[in-house]
Symmetry: C2
Subunit: 351 residues, 2 copies
């Protein structure tokens, strides 16, 4: 479909690499974030998501993000010392005001309360508000599946994506994630953009001087366009799956925007005001306790989910997070390889 492999998620040359243990990745991220004045909770929470990204082979959510974290800070679009404020707004609902900080500390603060509510009531929802958001949603799903809960998460981004049948950017890349806990196995988790591809994928084609496949974007008039620069600077990206993906993107705008009193992707882009940094806004997370739904039937019923997974794998279908879990095992054993260019760029941040 395209000459550029999506595993090359950042634009750095991977041939010339630096080997790091996960402990070294953690130490480097910590040093950079401390250097720029992030308070202890932010240093730790952001670092853990970057380590998790590198570890799971998602380099676009790994150390690479340190560069945009610092850019976001320099642009004055994230508070390095925010102390989130939790609001218990209804028996089954929480909202946490991140106070302009990155989402991670706010989420970690609210997480035990969300788990408690879901286990007490059967289902509960959390809105994270006023956060700078760049973390992968699977990282927010995992602590919930670890607690034995079924979980959904979604967040708007910047208005880069055209609604099906429209002509102008309006929706964000609006990722949607879902997790299902598995006994004695890593959870079944998917996490995908409702845009056809990630924005970084189109960016990579621009840098490589290559056209993008049809179906990824349109020009300023809403016509099909294969020139990455035109799509990125004047046109719009497309949703996956035509009007169905577009409907899902609209749902994300609504439930992680107005429903939790936070910005849509259009409002987030306006707030960015040309700074081109991390999107600002909210995230919605819903957690369900299967043991409350199933009671004494839980063990038997959850075993039937395992039968479904086995049927998928037996016919050659990959479970959504399989690649990530394989990368994780390998990284824990062998460490990771970071491009030398990226490594130097990060070191330059603290020179």
């Amino acid at each position: 479909m395209t000459a550029i492999d999506s595993s090359q998620q950042h634009a750095y040359d991977k041939v010339d690499t630096v080997h790091m243990t996960l402990e070294e990745v953690r130490a480097l991220s910590t040093r950079v974030l401390e250097h720029y004045g992030f308070t202890r909770p932010h240093v730790e929470a952001v670092t853990e998501t970057l380590v998790a990204g590198e570890r799971d082979g998602c380099s676009s959510h790994g150390l690479y993000r340190l560069l945009s974290c610092i850019n976001t800070l320099k642009a004055g679009k994230v508070a390095p010392d925010a102390t989130p404020e939790l609001h218990d707004i209804a028996p089954a609902l929480l909202r946490i005001d991140a106070k302009g900080g990155f989402s991670q500390v706010a989420y970690l603060t609210a997480l035990p309360h969300l788990i408690d509510k879901a286990k007490a009531l059967g289902i509960a929802a959390l809105g994270i508000n006023h956060c700078a958001h760049f973390s992968a949603l699977w990282a927010d799903i995992e602590p919930l599946t670890d607690a034995g809960l079924v979980a959904f998460a979604c967040t708007p981004s910047h208005a880069w994506v055209m609604p099906a049948g429209g002509s102008k950017p309006l929706f964000g890349t609006n990722p949607l994630a879902f997790g299902w806990p598995r006994p004695d196995k890593p959870a079944f988790i998917f996490d995908f953009a409702t845009s056809m591809v990630a924005r970084g994928e189109i960016e990579l084609h621009r840098r490589a001087g290559k056209p993008i496949p049809e179906g990824w974007g349109v020009d300023a008039e809403g016509n099909p366009c294969t020139d990455p620069a035109t799509v990125l600077d004047h046109g719009a990206m497309l949703t996956f799956g035509g009007h169905k993906g577009s409907a899902l993107a609209a749902m994300v705008e609504l439930i992680a925007g107005p429903l939790i009193a936070d910005m849509t992707s259009a409002e987030s882009l306006a707030f960015d005001a040309g700074a081109k940094v991390t999107s600002m806004g909210g995230e919605l997370i819903i957690a369900i306790d299967p043991h409350r739904f199933l009671g004494a039937q839980a063990e038997t019923e959850l075993a039937r989910a395992e039968t479904l997974f086995e049927s998928m794998v037996a016919q050659g279908a990959r479970l959504p997070s399989q690649r990530r879990y394989l990368a994780r095992e390998k990284s824990i054993r062998e460490g990771v390889w970071i491009s030398k260019t990226l490594y130097n760029d990060i070191c330059n941040l603290i020179r």
Copy 2:
């Protein structure tokens, strides 16, 4: 994309039509269902969904379904006199056992309780169990948006659809629906199959002796196939949007299957045992009260959703249920036109 217009949702010739008022549609459905011994609540509830389908221009969920309702009854796969049993299983969770009846009476029985829980707690979920399921999900979403709630619904069907990367049918067409209430306007509602197209669409191509477009199905070995008969009888349908649609289809299997102690699509097809009737199993419905999330901010925040809809419409994108609402206005004013063949087939049921 294809020579057959998807508005021709049943195989009957539309040229030779019978005009009916909605009251006449209601009376005809009532007579047929009464004739076959459905008890009063089932006659009324099933009839109302058939009337709603005809009224909204969704003929595949209109009177046409009477034929399969009666087939399902004759095959012994639906109880005409089931009295559903409601279980208040956790503060925010309900399950209702449909006792083998059609889903509608069970849903109507549970509905006020679901609304009460969502309004009291902020979010609540309902599992409908052991029902014969054929109703459109938008019909289940509407009473919730009418009550001012945000709602999700999904249900498995029969194992006709291949997981991405697989080779055999495993998932159902697994529809997914979402609704957002709008002040003084019909709700924003989408409802789509996670398969590329509805099964009936492929059936129509078979009857018309026309090949189906690539991307709709595969043969028995999992290879791309454009012969509708091969896809329907020996192969599998495909999900929309590749691995993303496939992930959503798997989610529907899980949350409207094992999570609520009900059948997956593979289990439903096994239960059908060649009878080729309506799928059997469960449905999951989640309702959220935006007023509990937003409190005093509700009016302002919900107005921002209206801005999003206006931005969509202004650039030519259609809101998901727009066509349905236009058909509704017209049908209420002018009545509907039913194919004479269908009308005669239905009348033959009670001759």
